[in-house]
Symmetry: C2
Subunit: 325 residues, 2 copies
Amino acid sequence: MILVNQKQIARELGISIATVSNALTGKGRVSADVIQLVTARAEELEYFPSAAGRALKTGRSGILGLVIPDITHPVFPDFAHGVETEAEKCGYGILIADSRGTEAGQKTAIDQLIQRGVDGIIIIPTRSSNPNTSKVPTAIVSTPTDPKSNVAANHRQGGQLSAQTLFDLGHRNFLLIGEDPMSPVQNERIDGMKDILDGAAKFEIYWANEEFPDLVLKAKEGVTACLAVSDLLALRVITEAGRLGVRCPDALSVIGFDNLPLGTAVRPTLSTIMPDTTELARRAVGYLNSAIRQDSDQPSSSVVEMGIILRESTQKITQPTQQGD
Amino acid sequence: MILVNQKQIARELGISIATVSNALTGKGRVSADVIQLVTARAEELEYFPSAAGRALKTGRSGILGLVIPDITHPVFPDFAHGVETEAEKCGYGILIADSRGTEAGQKTAIDQLIQRGVDGIIIIPTRSSNPNTSKVPTAIVSTPTDPKSNVAANHRQGGQLSAQTLFDLGHRNFLLIGEDPMSPVQNERIDGMKDILDGAAKFEIYWANEEFPDLVLKAKEGVTACLAVSDLLALRVITEAGRLGVRCPDALSVIGFDNLPLGTAVRPTLSTIMPDTTELARRAVGYLNSAIRQDSDQPSSSVVEMGIILRESTQKITQPTQQGD
DNA sequence: CTATGATGATTAAACGATTAATCAAGAATA
DNA sequence: TATTCTTGATTAATCGTTTAATCATCATAG
């Protein structure tokens, strides 16, 4: 608990504080011997520069804020993890704040972060809100169709990939399942699926919040593939099918989104579409970092493509015939 | 981006900086009128005290560190969320660091946090490590059997609750499923189950990492209930059963641990055991807070009980008879 | 009328690091 | 020899806030 500061090192070595600072930061003019001496002593004493002292003088805290709607939702920790590792590479720490999905919560979260002196903020905005952040550099991670977005995953292309993959496996009769028809993300994913299927295959859309399809009936009608907008929804489809006797993936192929941990626990293991979260995080941190440094030549908006992870739940169609009884 | 500090307020009001500080913090001697004047002007200018300036002078940053093994694992975000809200109540922000499950990662994470000037650290240690944190107040969140633990969830009692609940529903032939036989947490949960079942019912233990039971065979042998040490494992049991035609919960009741989001998505919805994470977080933050303030009269270790959430996957036994063919 | 107190505000010194300005001394140049 | 350059180090100011010490003023007590 005892403090080791530059003053102490300077005193012990009989030199000035400024020289210590210069030696440690590599600025100014210091002889090689003194640098050697200072760094050695600093090492010995386990000296760490005071974050507060440095922040006060330089006006930079070395901390980024991350505002997410709900840390409990399994989509976000993955991104948070990516941001954390990317930030560390740039010498930043991250302060996480939960906006609880509300616009008021988002506002207080942002204020809190600013008050704590963060150098910049990465925001995943709550449903179509307009975070006011004139006071500090900001990177907004949203959807490609959101004009405020600085970084986004290409949900529509993800939807296309989902549909195209199953189409290529021979499926021609689809069930598209969303959860909340008001969600922009889910709509973009569904739109992407429609891009591929319109005119090329039969399909129906259900929103689980309103009505969940009767899988036995649908199987009788010839449906062989189900494209869900999330892994949680896909899980519901798989287990619902299991209890109803619709065999998966033999009778029904299923694919989700987000690559949640449950995807490898469920049987059959779940195929899924997801963005490269590391890349997403890299761009968000990179954008923010150059905004902080005021590098002007930075793209104001970028979109990262989604990829696919094929597991057991998606299969080549066996015979495009009716099943059930 | 323009700075509002005490100096500016002082200048505008024609008074000294010290008076501004005293007026805003309520210390020293300031007349009621001046306090009124200062706070009003501060409000207008949207003044926020500089975190760096204050931290430098007071030696306290108002930030707590939270070290978790893997933010991606769905168990932790729930706790992190609790810590974040509890910390906020005490006026702290939290800096999250991921130790990546390794002891080296844990060490660097802790060093990083100290370097950033946190006032204290909450650590969920990686598997039986001994975090060295002599430099800063620390709260360790581990298991009741870990002597270093300051706060813990009662995993053994959770295991008891799991077994007792199914026993009370009439089950007498159990499958206990763990994942990793080296995990202290999982062993404590299994031990709790054994506390109840030993001598009172038939049971078998499987470790999924080594061998997953043949559910059809087990059902034939009369097993009617499966106690898993985690929701992910329970999910695997439910879906594996589903594809093998072992009906759940009619033929097999299943219960897990941790109350993951997937529990309400899977069909049948999953019964689960979990600690009150809010309470867990409250105690961790409370313990740390008083350690920081050096309140000596604080219990050095406390244990929080686990509760149960009953959903569809656990049922009263219908008939304790063989099924299958 | 002077000594004492209470009140309200100011001065000035920290906290720890950074950095522009300065200075001393030896080397190179005229 | 006098002058300029270079090198290596020091001084001192600064960031924004807190806080002990000081001071002025006016009221009260002696």
